[in-house]
Amino acid sequence: MSDKSYVPASGEQIQVKKSADGSHFVEGRGGQSTHKPALQLERIDHQTQRVLATFKNARRLFWVFESRGKRVLSWPGGSIELDSLDLTEGTGNSAGKLKPLKLTMPGKVVAVKVKQGDLVEASQPLIVVEAMKMENLLMAPARAKIAKVHVATGDRLESGTILITFEAAD
């Protein structure tokens, strides 16, 4: 089986690996070849949707479930709707140049609503990605022209995949 990799906000490559006992962990933070897992999922119970995670020195219980059509992550003390999170990163308009739209979690492209050369306004829907069994509408970060669409409907994507690149609108 192949290990998964994805790119968090810091830009470094992170490997999701499977260990001999079947658990999963993330390693390779900060580019160091440390084998100490930063995050490890020990058990997942499909029926109750329980997840036991070891995070650094803490052990945490989580539940992942769907509520009223939205994916929710909850834990003792709180919960969060996952689709209220921004699934993309690096889309800020810094130094006058628009960064490419990237995915920060694995997903599948459900629909692409724009094509190369299109002029888009801020918040205009660009692409629909299914992640965590939820559809997520990704929108234009600012007024821009589509330089290239790098993915197509039906593509299964890894975290860190570049979806769309932009160029200045004028």
Binding site: S10, L39, F62, S67, G77, G78, L85
Partner: protein, 506 residues
């Protein structure tokens, strides 16, 4: 002569089987008190409550109809039929539903069923806001400045409004539950709303009488718990503050009132006035006098609730008195089991209402409660309305549980409550746990001087969707977790070994 039964608890009462005409955590609460007194208990349940804890806990349970409250918990004839079928000779109405319906109390009496609550006359008197105002005024209880009796027409409304000053609130005399109420800031708004409120009053409450009161912007909500027996003894069980509200609904309650800490003279005056009000109307059983209090700690009578209240546990925690048990004993003709001098307010208690709701919009979000992790430990009380595996019915209040924490000081009770909330987990639906934790940690709440405007004013801080799970410090770490959860390979089926944590207790 009415029969008297000696129960295994050592208590004698003129009834032996109590039917609880309610559901959820209050039905469970009443069943507990009745069982401790050695009484037999009967639950009634609707189609939606087949697996609800109250139906499973009572000695007998009677299915009384469809999920819609009008066809079950609000249908007097169905509840009377359940009494007949089981031979229940007493009835506790809980709160909401038929608890403040004087006609229902009369029906019980006609059928020789002891209604555990005040007399129908007291319910009538305090149920109508105008007669309640008049009665309290006569009893020397300060009332909110407003019209004496129903307003004849708009001209009179304008005249009274001018006298007491804007903003004013127009209210339906027979109203309640936030319906038939409008705030007017000026003459123009008063003109606009007058007929609307009249119409609402007629449509919702079958009585077009409308009156107006001065409207206090963001007051404190302070209430006094009363217990009175049929021998003329009236005691107060100190006060509660319920100023953490949204959409006129209480979310966090405390006893004693943090706003009155260090103001014992005002507290004593409040208690004296509340007891006097209850005495003058000959009130019997448990009741609550609600007051609004302004920033200068002037207080005015708002209304009297002629029933047990949701937030009664905080009073029980500071007094050590089982209010529901006292209600049953009072209904059985007993004297209060304590005197005013014997009552002491000991320490501090806080209650948080755990709801299945969207923590950002406050809209109900009922669904399945797949897992329910409830807190424990010393001086933490949980009154749960749900069992794990149950689905929260759409038809009723989406409450999951009431969580209470007692401490020797307010500080200790806040810290304990925060600790307890951190242990509380629900899988299957959205809850307000996070919201409660933030409210409790908010400096305005911790400071103890918060008004009914607190949630609205601090909405942004309290409903922040960007909170991270404990132990996860950065968004980057959080994304790692989510990515890991999302990767399909991570879904390793659990082997045969059992889960190492416990999930149930009610």
């Amino acid at each position: 002569m009415t029969p008297v039964y000696l129960h295994a608890s050592g208590v004698t009462l003129p009834f032996k089987k109590v039917l609880i005409a309610n559901r959820g955590e209050i039905a469970v609460r009443v069943i507990r008190a009745a069982k401790e007194l050695g009484l037999k208990t009967v639950a009634v349940y609707s189609e939606a409550d087949k697996n609800s804890p109250h139906a499973l806990l009572a000695d007998e349970a009677v299915h009384i109809g469809e999920a819609e409250a009008k066809k079950s918990y609000l249908a007097p004839e169905k509840i009377m039929a359940a009494c007949k079928a089981t031979g229940a000779d007493a009835l506790h109405p809980g709160f909401g539903f038929l608890s403040e319906n004087a006609e229902f109390a009369r029906t019980c009496a006609k059928n020789e069923i002891t209604f555990i609550g005040p007399s129908p006359e007291a319910m009538d008197l305090m149920g109508d806001k105008l007669s309640a105002r008049a009665a309290m005024k006569k009893a020397g209880v300060p009332i909110v400045p407003g019209s004496d009796g129903a307003l004849k027409d708009l001209a009179e409304a304008k005249k009274v409004a001018k006298e007491i000053g804007f903003p004013i609130i127009l209210k339906a005399a027979a109203g309640g539950g936030g319906k038939g109420m409008r705030v007017a800031q000026n003459d123009r708004e008063l003109e606009n709303f007058f007929e609307t409120v009249q119409r609402e009053a007629l449509n919702f409450f079958n009585d077009g009488s409308v009156f107006l009161e001065r409207y206090a912007q963001n007051p404190h909500h302070i209430e006094v718990q009363i217990l009175a027996d049929s021998h003329g003894n009236v005691c107060h069980l100190f006060e509660r503050e319920c100023s953490v509200q949204r959409r006129h609904q209480k979310v966090i309650e405390e006893a004693p009132a943090p706003f009155l800490i260090g103001h014992d003279e005002i507290r004593e005056k409040l208690f004296q006035v509340a007891v006097q009000g209850a005495k003058r109307i000959g009130y019997v059983n448990a009741g609550t006098m609600e007051f609004v209090m302004d920033g200068e700690r002037n207080f005015y009578f708002l209304e009297m609730n002629t029933r047990i209240q949701v937030e009664h546990p905080v009073t029980e925690m500071i007094t050590g008195i089982d209010i529901v048990k006292e209600q049953i004993l009072i209904a059985g003709g007993h004297k209060l089991s304590f005197t005013q001098q014997e009552l002491k307010a000991n320490g501090h208690a806080i209650e948080c209402r755990l709801y299945a709701e969207n923590p950002h919009t406050f809209l109900p979000s009922p669904g399945p409660v797949k897992e329910l992790l409830l807190p424990g430990g010393p001086f933490v009380r949980v009154d749960a309305a749900m069992l794990p595996g149950q689905t929260i019915p759409l038809e009723y209040d989406p409450m999951i549980a009431k969580l209470c924490a007692w401490g020797r000081s307010r500080q200790e009770s806040m810290n304990r409550m925060a600790r307890a909330l951190g242990e509380t987990g629900v899988a299957g639906c959205l809850t307000n746990i996070e919201f409660l934790r933030r409210a409790l940690a908010h400096q305005v709440f911790r400071g103890g001087n918060y008004t009914t405007g607190f949630i609205e004013a601090e909405k942004k801080a309290l409903a922040d969707p960007a909170a991270l799970p404990p132990g996860i410090e950065t968004e980057e770490e959080f994304r790692e977790l989510i990515a890991l959860l999302a990767s399909s390979e991570a879904k390793v089926p659990l082997a045969s070994e059992p889960a190492p944590w416990r999930t149930t207790h009610v």
